[in-house]
Subunit: 366 residues, 2 copies
């Protein structure tokens, strides 16, 4: 089939112009005499790519100067392990707010050396809401408070009712997993001590993560850990403590440049509003044929899980969607049903095609 | 410039046919309707790639059935941290044989929870030899013995004088970093308990590593660690405990398939002999114009460091090489001088071109 509208949750759709550039560069990078996949990370060609990518990402996200930016191998789950090792010492309390599957997964990355406190959890409620801030049981003097800014599976996001969208946790450093919503709107990074994101949703390719951390935090002792797991050592080595995933880094750079060219986070904020409103209004206006169970105040603009009232129609819905050039809509096995992931690389036209298909499918089967 | 002969140590040269395939697949993978970079790792298209890659790698390396194969994010340094966490419990002794820079780097990935014993080190000797087996001070009951099969920077390799080329360490599990020599010759894996390799040298792309481990070892408790750092959990999840570096995995698969098509490890063994003999004989026959300091019995067939007697000629050597279409020859900053990395993707013709250039350069400047 031809290229479809791809609603995959991550790895996810990339801008076609980025893929065409990567295709064009595949055998030879500029004047390097070799592919970008083949050249040394310490050579002038790649060093230039790395520096430009950091500069562009700092512009896109308005990263303050007192924050370091790291480009590290692996995904967000790996960073969940590393943030605990780097920023919590033995015996320290760490506070976690669990608003969905990934917040819960984060707990499994901790060792018994730290004292885990689940400050709040939406689990009893099926993760349809985020527990109100005044119900959170925070630990005075905790090493940090961890939240998941957007839950990719449950479709729950800290939205502006929560601040910008950071909740106020006082003087305790706020850490946030922004894997699936980074760069989807302007963000006041100074309200967080650390944010991290696997790149394969809004920033481009799989296999690399971005960590943005207030520099003073890197002075913390943390727990005994491999040199390779030391964020401060990574910073001192320009994120090249070992051979980094160069091609992934390069593709991230192309994607960031594309986002800047499209108008930056203001523009993606606007598009995310349009795309998510199109989908939620179609679901809510379907008279129960489609259903999304998340409280309207915390519905994600990036991942829209939905269910057909008649689940026996699921297979017909998915195969018809594929015929209509709409792929990646099957829900995560944890929830079942459907899910449309509509990151920055998904154009408004893709969501228009999806809601058109949904309405037509309902007419035929409703 | 056109594509050159690329002697980079890693990221390193890939077969041109592999790059052309990746280029052709860049916008659409088969009938998936999206690029390989964009599709879900859990979808049927990628699951097929993953399964085929494991099957091909098992064929290429003759991996015994009682060994598991993991495909994990990050490079070898990350695995150096994880092997200790997974296979050594608190208080366990671990024996390390240090035969160069990377063997030494491995030590920095350990935590104080284990008792490090440097069983032998070639450091005092400038890593020009590997200490004789009967000089090794092994710890009875150690959790494992760790060696570096080939030292990428120092150009030192365990060669057949050492066995196949595994040294005999009795009943203690032997672990080996094969990052820069895997698949360069037939290997009796049963002589090792675990081997690991960052893929970016002999197996293809950067950003992914292969771990081959005897299954019974995965029952060890190891040290408290993140779920993400648990090899057994990775195995139980088909190396998809989180979103894996899919594109890198795919490129690894293409490279393995290419190696099988070229004749497998027997053929690369033969080519490695030819290529390394061409280079060492040119160096040794230069009357001191070029120099390699490694003892002949442990000279690496993959990485050939060499020095010009007159180091003032280094820049002229490198720029002339580039004009001759030979790149990636600058030595690692730890050693200086030159280094030619001649992994499986480097054709014999590339090494012939290099020695031709070296002889001509000597004529002009000798």
């Amino acid at each position: 089939m031809a290229r479809a509208y791809n609603f995959s949750p991550g790895p996810a759709a990339l801008p076609e112009s980025v893929l065409r550039q990567a295709q064009s560069d595949m055998l030879e990078w500029g004047d390097a005499g070799a592919s970008i996949v083949e050249i040394s990370h310490r050579g002038p060609e790649f060093m230039q790519i790395a520096a430009q990518t950091e500069a562009d990402l700092r512009t896109l996200l308005a990263v303050p100067d007192d924050y370091a930016v790291l480009f590290v191998p692996g995904g967000a789950t790996t960073q969940q392990a590393l943030i605990a090792l780097n920023f919590a010492s033995e015996g320290d309390a760490v506070d976690y707010v669990v608003s969905g599957h990934w917040g819960k997964t984060a707990l499994k990355q901790l060792t018994p050396a730290v004292r885990l406190n689940i400050a709040a959890s939406g689990e009893a409620d099926g993760y349809h809401t985020i527990p109100a801030r005044d119900s959170w049981q925070l630990t005075p003097g905790a090493a940090y408070v961890h939240i998941t800014a957007n839950e990719t599976i449950h479709g729950v996001e800290f939205r502006p009712a929560w601040g910008n969208p950071a909740p106020d946790v006082g003087d305790v450093p706020l850490f946030a997993d922004f894997s699936s919503s980074i760069a989807s709107e302007p963000l006041d990074i100074s309200r967080y001590a650390l944010i991290y994101a696997g790149a394969q949703k809004n920033l481009g390719p799989v296999g690399i993560s971005v960590v943005i951390v207030r520099r003073d935090l890197l002075e913390r002792a943390g727990q005994p850990r491999a040199h390779m797991f030391n964020y401060k050592a990574q910073l001192e080595n320009d994120s090249m403590l070992n051979t980094p995933p160069t091609w992934n880094w390069y593709l991230l750079g192309l994607t960031v440049k594309w986002m800047l060219g499209e108008g930056g986070t203001d523009e993606f904020d606007r598009r995310s509003d349009v795309k998510s409103m199109l989908l939620y209004s179609t679901i809510d206006g379907s008279g129960g044929f489609y259903r999304n169970d998340v409280d309207a105040s915390v519905r994600s603009r990036m991942n829209v899980p939905f269910f057909l009232a008649d689940e026996a129609l699921n297979d017909a819905f998915l195969s018809g969607a594929r015929e209509a050039g709409l792929i990646g809509l099957k829900g995560h096995r944890v929830l079942g049903g459907m899910r449309a992931s509509i990151y920055n690389a998904m154009p408004v036209e893709g969501v228009q095609a999806l809601v058109g298909y949904m309405q037509e499918f309902q007419k035929r089967h409703g």
